[in-house]
């Protein structure tokens, strides 16, 4: 319970700082902190495989890509927004208020459907945690129920690789 609040607070604070602070290099590093906190939350949710995948792929590969681009483009200082643009003081405050309103609406919508079920996450609906997170079960589901999505994802990755190389080349 304590761990949930610890990881949750770290994740929320890190994500807020990602969005609010000025230096994109620090934003990338704070996002990595947020990912690690979320991986801790996944371990609390009996999903060690999801946690490790989060760290290997998100924090270990995607964020390295972001870091490379930030270093390549020398983007470690943000341009000051010109006056009257969307991030002067007024729009930022209105945006923050609207974000709070959005949060309240989402929480209300997500939580009010809870009355129909009870005891979730306290007992789990029938599966014991040992087999829930097991990689064997995950692999079985992945390759039988979701086999089509798996194959399509492989095509997606090839397309993304080719697309990224083509888009970033100087001359074709």
């Amino acid at each position: 319970m304590v761990l949930f609040y610890l990881f949750g607070t770290v994740a929320v604070v890190a994500s807020l700082l990602v969005v609010l602070q000025r230096n994109p290099m620090h934003s990338v590093l704070l996002l990595i902190v947020s990912f690690v906190a979320l991986a801790g939350l996944y371990i609390l949710l009996d999903s060690p495989f999801a946690a490790v995948i989060q760290i290997i792929i998100y924090a270990g590969a995607i964020m390295v890509l972001f870091l490379f681009v930030v270093m390549l483009l020398n983007a470690h200082k943000e341009d000051d927004p010109p006056a009257g643009s969307l991030t002067a003081g007024g729009p930022l405050r209105i945006g923050a208020v609207l974000a709070v309103v959005l949060t309240a609406e989402l929480i209300w919508a997500l939580v009010r459907a809870e009355g129909t079920r009870d005891g979730l996450l306290a007992g789990g609906a029938g599966a014991d945690p040992g087999t829930l997170g097991s990689v064997r079960e995950l692999g079985r589901v992945l390759f039988t129920d979701y086999a089509f999505a798996f194959e399509v994802t492989s095509i997606l990755i090839i397309v993304a690789m080719v697309g990224a190389v083509v888009l970033a080349k100087r001359e074709l």
Binding site: P48, V52, I55, V64
Partner: protein, 341 residues
């Protein structure tokens, strides 16, 4: 008698101490073996046969002045060696180095010589190795120096390229062993065939072993893949601008990464702590012997082979090693289905 809790805390401290000792022994033996290969004496002044040389090195490094370049980002500059060193130590937390033992009857229940027996241990090691990249790239970036930045970029792109082959050869072992937990993988290698050939995975997966060793050498930035720290070209790569204690942490992180890579290779391919004449609870002696052999091989490679140029290195990693690892995985999977293991 003693609750397992105390033994677990004891194991943590013991492992930490042993890792530091292993790093010190590596420093000394690297210089001594290099000297023997190059037909000269090595360190011989400090202590008997120069064995206290690592202590002298550490003392010298601690007493140096800690410098920081002018334009360096202060937080990241201090954070980078911490990330490197922490990730290096953390990866060893899930590596088992002995069988379940009751420590000569002191404990109630047998405890495995492993800090955390996670059932996705192989992936945890992979994940922590991925995180240790950040120490290098942050060191290179925050030093505000061209040698550091080039060295860091080269090093990180080399490491992420060879991580793919590393992962695929890991996947082949997982297919054969049927589990992601390192303890299970080691226990699947107990026993012998025909009475004298041990059931190690290196005999079932020779190509996988070679790929894993090459990728491990590339991951730890050792020769012949140490272009990022090539002294002739880049001064010292990503740790050019670091001086006393932060430099020592990078140094330490490199040696402990080597020890971890050797330990993981031993657990995955060479049977871990299983060996012929010793009982299981003394298996850690075999573990140390195997790690010693692999580390000797690392040092031997460094002082024998010439360094690969950066584009040769990347070509080798992407065009040779990765297809080989993928074919190895497919053949392994086909073999497991056909022969059943």
């Amino acid at each position: 008698m003693i609750p397992v809790y105390f033994a677990q805390v004891g194991i943590i401290f013991a492992t930490f101490g042993l890792l530091l000792l292993a790093a010190a022994i590596m420093v000394y033996s690297e210089r001594k073996v290099a000297a023997i290969i190059q037909q000269r004496y090595g360190p011989y002044l400090v202590g008997p046969k120069g064995m206290l040389q690592p202590i002298a090195d550490v003392v010298k490094l601690i007493f140096k002045e800690t410098l920081r370049p002018l334009g360096a980002d202060r937080l990241l500059f201090m954070l980078a060696p911490l990330i490197s060193a922490t990730a290096a130590f953390a990866a060893f937390a899930v590596v088992p180095f002995g069988a379940k033992t009751t420590l000569f009857g002191l404990l109630d229940t047998p405890m495995s010589l492993q800090i955390a027996d996670v059932n996705v241990a192989v992936l945890v090691i992979f994940a922590i190795t991925s995180v240790s990249l950040y120490g290098i790239v942050l060191a290179g970036w925050s030093s505000n120096s061209k040698y550091s930045l080039l060295g860091a970029l080269r090093s990180v792109s080399q490491m992420i390229s060879y991580e793919l082959s590393y992962g695929l050869s890991l996947a082949s072992v997982i297919v054969v062993a049927g589990s992601l937990s390192l303890t299970d993988i080691v226990n699947a290698q107990a026993g012998t065939w025909l009475g004298f050939i041990p059931r190690w995975f290196v005999f079932l997966q020779p190509v996988g072993f070679v790929i894993f060793m090459i990728a491990g050498i590339a991951e730890t930035n050792r020769a012949p893949f140490d272009f990022p720290e090539a002294e002739q070209e880049l001064v010292a790569g990503y740790h050019t601008e670091y001086s006393s204690t932060p430099f020592m942490m990078f140094f330490l992180a490199e040696y402990i990464n080597m020890v971890t890579a050797a330990a993981v290779a031993t657990d995955l391919f060479l049977g871990g702590w299983h060996g012929p004449w010793l009982p299981d609870y003394l298996g850690w002696i075999w573990f140390l012997i195997k790690i010693g052999a692999i580390l000797f091989f690392y040092i031997w490679m460094r002082w024998t082979l010439p360094r690969l140029r950066y584009d040769q290195l990347m070509t080798f990693g992407w065009k040779v090693l990765l297809p080989l690892a993928a074919v190895n995985l497919i053949v392994t999977a086909a073999g497991v289905i056909y022969f059943g293991y």
